[in-house]
Structures are given as structure tokens and as C-alpha cells.
């Protein structure tokens, strides 16, 4: 099927251009098509941006187990609404994605009822408890694309080392939630003046920095790639930059609120910015 999208804004090499896009069987044939070219379907973008399907490698569909927060239907619908056609979902569900049955449940449900492509991420350890490896090989055959205990760090460095070596054998990238729980010490917001004023226990930025350092060292030692999830501190960014320059297989992501909001917005009335 040939689709023509007219009146769209297309970005290319940093330039935004108002143009028409011609797509044939999922392949972009032209970004400078004539408005009257023959097509099976014509869509008028009405001046909106035209982008390829976006990919979000860090989502939470909360399904199974926490469907009252989000489920595969609502999560994939909002992904589609935001322009994301492929998403990878984290394994901190209930039960956790630490076995092939849960992987298959997510894949089957999202194929039947979802709106975008869903790629499950498996747990590093059974029950995300940081003690024993999950069945990464069998889960990979069932369709996981990476492993992570996201929501929690793997606190024991020996478990993390072995998890990296084992995941590496199956070609699975490891995504790390970097937080030293001893340093976090049940804190609930960034440590600073605001936490002091609000009377909330602060989390020192060192909690993240220490674990980012450990992951860089373990990635270099095992030669297995690590992706650092939701980076939020200046020191982490510097450490990751240095590691990349040294050729270590470290990648990273951050989240919009980390570079658009600060904790000063937090208050007793509106606690979310903490």
C-alpha cells in the first residue's frame, strides 16, 4: 500500500521542512513528493511533525500484577499516542518477568490487545531479589531483549559480575538501576536544602555515582555491555563520558524530569517533583 502524507513537518539534518512524504509498504520512498502523486491513501498532517516510529527502551507496563496502575492496553495506547511504535517493558511486575511463562504472557497479550510492538526485558535475578540468576537463556528464547532488575539495584557485586558473564554468553545487554541502597538509606528525595526544609530523608547523589562507577568497572572487567538507566547526577554523566572515551561498552539514558524540573518545586502539597 502506498501512503502519501501531505503538509507534514519533516526534520532532516537539523532542518525543519514543510513537505510531503511518500511511503510504500512501510518504506519511505520520498520526503519531497509531489502533493498530487498517486497513492492508495492520503493523510493530511495539517502542519504536524512527521517522524519515524519512536522507540522507548525503558517503559513500565505494570502488567501482570499492577493493572490498577497501568496495563498492556493502556500503556501501549499511550505509547502510540506519543508516537512510539516500539517499547521495551521492565520486569518489575508481579510476578516478576523472571521466567518464560510471564514473557510469553506479555508478548501474547500485547500482540492480541496492544497497540505497538512490545519487547519484554527479563529480570537479572529471580524475583528481582538480587540473589540468584533468572533463566536468562530460556527467557531469551521466549523473546526478551535485555535483562534488568530495574526498580532495584543488584547490590551484591559478585552476583552482578556473574550475571554479566552469564548474560554476555546469551548476547543479552544488561540494564542497571544504579543506586546503592545503603547510601540511599530509605531516603525519598534528592538530598539538599529542600529535603531539609521539608523534613524528608535525602538521598545523596553518591548513591547513584558509586553504583555507576561499579558498573563501569564490571563492564570493563567482563567485557559485557551495560546500559545505565535514568541517569540523574552530574558525576554519573562525567563518569559515563570518561568510560565511553576509554572504549568501555557503557550506554546511558535519562528522563525528561531530570533536566526540566528541580526539587525546589517539591512541597508538601505537590510532592511529585521530589
Amino acid at each position: 500500500m502506498r501512503i502519501l502524507i501531505i503538509n507534514g513537518k519533516v526534520t532532516y539534518n537539523g532542518i525543519v521542512e514543510r513537505t510531503n512524504v511518500l511511503i510504500d509498504e512501510g518504506i519511505v520512498l520520498s520526503t519531497k513528493a509531489a502533493a498530487d502523486i498517486e497513492a492508495d491513501k492520503v493523510i493530511d498532517a495539517g502542519g504536524l511533525y512527521v517522524l519515524p516510529g519512536l522507540v522507548d527502551a525503558h517503559c513500565h507496563l505494570r502488567d501482570p500484577g499492577y493493572e490498577y496502575k497501568e496495563d498492556i492496553i493502556s500503556g501501549t495506547k499511550s505509547a502510540a499516542r506519543g508516537g512510539f511504535t516500539s517499547i521495551a517493558c521492565m520486569p518489575n511486575t508481579n510476578p516478576a518477568v523472571d521466567n518464560a511463562a510471564v514473557v510469553r504472557y506479555i508478548i501474547e497479550k500485547s500482540q492480541k490487545e496492544g497497540y505497538v510492538n512490545v519487547y519484554p526485558i527479563g529480570a537479572i535475578t529471580k524475583g528481582l531479589e538480587g540473589n540468584e540468576l533468572s533463566e536468562m537463556g530460556i527467557m531469551r528464547e521466549a523473546g526478551i531483549v535485555a535483562v534488568s532488575d530495574d526498580g532495584k539495584p543488584v547490590m551484591n557485586s559478585d552476583v552482578m559480575k556473574k550475571a554479566l558473564i552469564y548474560a554476555g554468553q546469551f548476547g543479552l545487554p544488561v540494564i542497571s538501576h544504579c543506586e546503592d541502597l545503603n547510601l540511599t538509606d530509605n531516603g525519598s528525595m534528592n538530598e539538599g536544602l529542600t529535603s531539609t526544609i521539608l523534613g524528608l530523608r535525602g538521598i545523596p547523589s553518591a548513591s547513584e555515582d558509586v553504583m555507576v562507577s561499579r558498573e563501569i568497572i564490571l563492564s570493563e572487567y567482563t567485557n559485557v555491555p551495560i546500559h545505565i538507566a535514568h541517569v540523574s547526577t552530574k558525576v554519573s554523566v562525567e563518569l559515563i563520558r570518561q568510560a565511553k572515551n576509554r572504549g568501555i561498552k557503557i550506554t546511558a539514558e535519562t528522563c525528561p524530569h531530570y533536566f526540566t524540573l528541580t526539587e525546589e518545586l517539591a512541597g508538601i502539597i505537590i510532592p511529585m517533583p521530589k
Binding site: 529471580k126 540473589n131 540468584e132 540468576l133 533468572s134 533463566e135 536468562m136 537463556g137 530460556i138 559478585d158 552476583v159 556473574k162 550475571a163 558473564i165 552469564y166 554476555g168 554468553q169
Partner: protein
């Protein structure tokens, strides 16, 4: 020919010629094991003590029978109920046994190097029946005897060893012995169970079973200790069997007449399926018989005999 040392501590320090010599003598000893009159008097008047600090059935019984078939006095020290439990050191225990006139001490110990320490401190011969994660030379010798029995030689053969290489003294002794005899050793294991630098011993490390066994004359499985999953070395028995277990499907690229071996005891269905263990190509029970023969040969040679 004579063995160059009073002890057999490992295959690291003995020559290819010595290995061939032991295997030659073992061939003759096997005739005694297979006969109905299993008694000779080569070790008449000699005493042999087995000193096992670790559990064992086949190795201890194998040594004890080997000594008895040869006419020696064989005594088994059960460490749990001995003065070791009272705090006696290994060296003192060894000297005590020697003072009673023991000619050969056969030791199994959970610490690597224990037989070497004992051997340095007593003048009786010491045979290593397995020390820590270091060596298990008599197992490798009986494996080599079994392989040689079928192929007539060890040189030029390809041997695949699959399983927990990291904790395996059987694997280390076999890698050392087989490469010394001119065979090629291929290894495959969960990456968590491969010791650092193992390829420097002359073995080749592979990333899947199919390639590991390709064109191999021998495929050897290793016992996986089930409690290792608690230590994050592999996730579950189920996953281990699925990716690291030997089965009729993933072994197809091995040679048609290849031998299936295992040092035992086997976890059926984990490191090897029953279809492999009980197949015609399986020589697991022949390994056990040859174990007695090899140990008879060693007892014979270490008590100073040169030839039959």
C-alpha cells in the same frame, strides 16, 4: 622403565612416556580384574591406606579393591571418626600412618595441594585421589586408558569436555594429560564456570555444544553440583540442561564412533540425557573397570616394580 617420583601427585609433573608406561601396565592389570581369580601377590606384605577427607564411593572402593587384588593390606581411614576430628594436622596424621609401616597413602582432600604437602613430609608414596579444584590424576589416567583402548592411540584425537570446568579437577587433569599425549581438547561450559586462562593450558574454548563436539572422537560430560545455582553460577537445573546438557540432538556433529564418557556420579537428564548415558557409545562403566586397573598399575609401579 621406572616412575621418576615416589608419588603420583598430578599429571603436570609426569612425562608422556611415564603416562604411556602406566597405561601399558594397566592393560595387563585389567586382565586380573576381568578374571575369576582376582588375586595376585605383587603387593604381598605391603600396606596401603586410603585417607579421604571428602566423600567418595567409586574412587575409594576402586583404590581399596585395587590394593586387595594385588595382595596388599588395605586400610581405610574414615576422617570423620578419626583423630583428624580431634584437630590433628595433615602432616602429623601422615607421619603417624607412616610410623605404623604404611607404604602408600592415598589421599583425597578438599584443599588443593594437600597431597603435595603430605608427600614432602613423609617417605611413603602418596597418590593424589583428588585435591580441591586442582588435579585428579588417576581419573584422567583411567579416562585416557579407556580412550586408548578404543582408538589405539591418544595422539591426534579430539576430545570435548563439557560442563563445570571451573570446579573440576577431572577436567584439569584431563586437559593436562590429553594435551601432553597429543590430543586436542575442546571445552564448553556456562561462561560463569570457565576458569580464567584455561585456554593457556592448550585447550580450545567454544561458545556452543554443536561446535565443541564437531568432529570429536570423545565427548566427556562433567558432573554439575546442583547447589552451584545458589552461587549464581547458573540459574536453574532446567536452564542448565537446556543449554549445557549433552543430548542426542546437540551431539550429532561428533564422529559416528565417538565415545560418550562421564567421571560419575551422573545427574541423569542434567549434564547428559539417559539416552546418551545408556547408549552403545557410552563407556561410563568401562571407565570404572579401567579405574581399578590403572590404580593397580600405580600401586605396582610405586612400590618399585619395573615390569611384569
Amino acid at each position: 622403565m621406572k616412575l621418576s617420583s615416589k608419588d603420583l601427585l598430578g599429571l603436570e609433573n609426569i612425562s608422556a612416556d611415564e603416562i604411556s608406561f602406566i597405561l601399558e601396565i594397566a592393560k595387563d592389570m585389567k586382565k586380573i580384574v576381568n578374571s575369576s581369580m582376582k588375586k595376585v601377590n605383587y603387593l604381598h606384605g605391603r600396606s596401603v591406606v586410603t585417607l579421604f577427607y571428602e566423600n567418595s564411593t567409586r574412587t575409594r572402593v576402586s583404590f581399596e579393591l585395587a590394593a586387595k587384588y594385588m595382595g596388599a593390606q588395605a586400610v581405610n581411614v574414615s576422617v570423620a571418626s578419626s583423630s583428624v576430628a580431634k584437630g590433628e594436622t595433615l602432616i602429623d596424621t601422615g607421619k603417624t600412618l607412616e610410623a605404623m609401616g604404611t607404604d602408600i597413602v592415598i589421599i583425597r582432600h578438599h584443599q588443593s595441594g594437600a597431597p603435595h604437602l603430605l608427600a614432602k613430609n613423609i617417605s611413603a608414596s602418596v597418590i593424589n585421589a583428588g585435591d580441591g579444584m586442582h588435579e585428579h590424576p588417576t581419573q584422567a589416567l583411567l579416562d585416557m586408558m579407556t580412550i586408548k583402548e578404543f582408538f589405539g592411540t591418544l595422539s591426534g584425537l579430539k576430545v570435548a569436555i563439557i560442563g563445570d570446568i571451573y570446579h573440576s579437577r577431572v577436567a584439569r587433569s584431563n586437559i593436562i594429560g590429553l594435551t601432553k599425549m597429543g590430543a586436542q581438547v575442546n571445552l564448553y561450559a556456562p561462561s560463569t564456570l570457565l576458569p580464567a586462562g584455561i585456554e593457556k593450558l592448550g585447550a580450545r574454548v567454544f561458545t556452543n555444544i554443536d561446535d565443541t563436539v564437531a568432529d570429536c572422537d570423545v565427548v566427556m560430560g562433567l558432573r554439575v553440583q546442583l547447589e552451584r545455582q545458589k552461587k549464581c553460577l547458573f540459574p536453574t537445573i532446567n536452564e542448565y540442561a537446556r543449554f549445557f546438557g549433552i543430548n542426542p540432538e546437540n551431539i550429532k556433529k561428533a564422529k559416528k564412533n565417538a565415545l560418550w564418557m562421564h567421571p560419575g556420579p551422573v545427574n541423569r537428564g542434567v549434564e547428559m540425557t539417559s539416552t546418551i548415558i545408556d547408549a552403545d557409545n557410552s563407556v561410563i562403566n568401562k571407565q570404572v573397570t579401567n579405574g581399578v586397573a590403572v590404580r593397580m598399575a600405580l600401586l605396582y609401579l610405586l612400590t618399585g616394580r619395573e615390569e611384569l
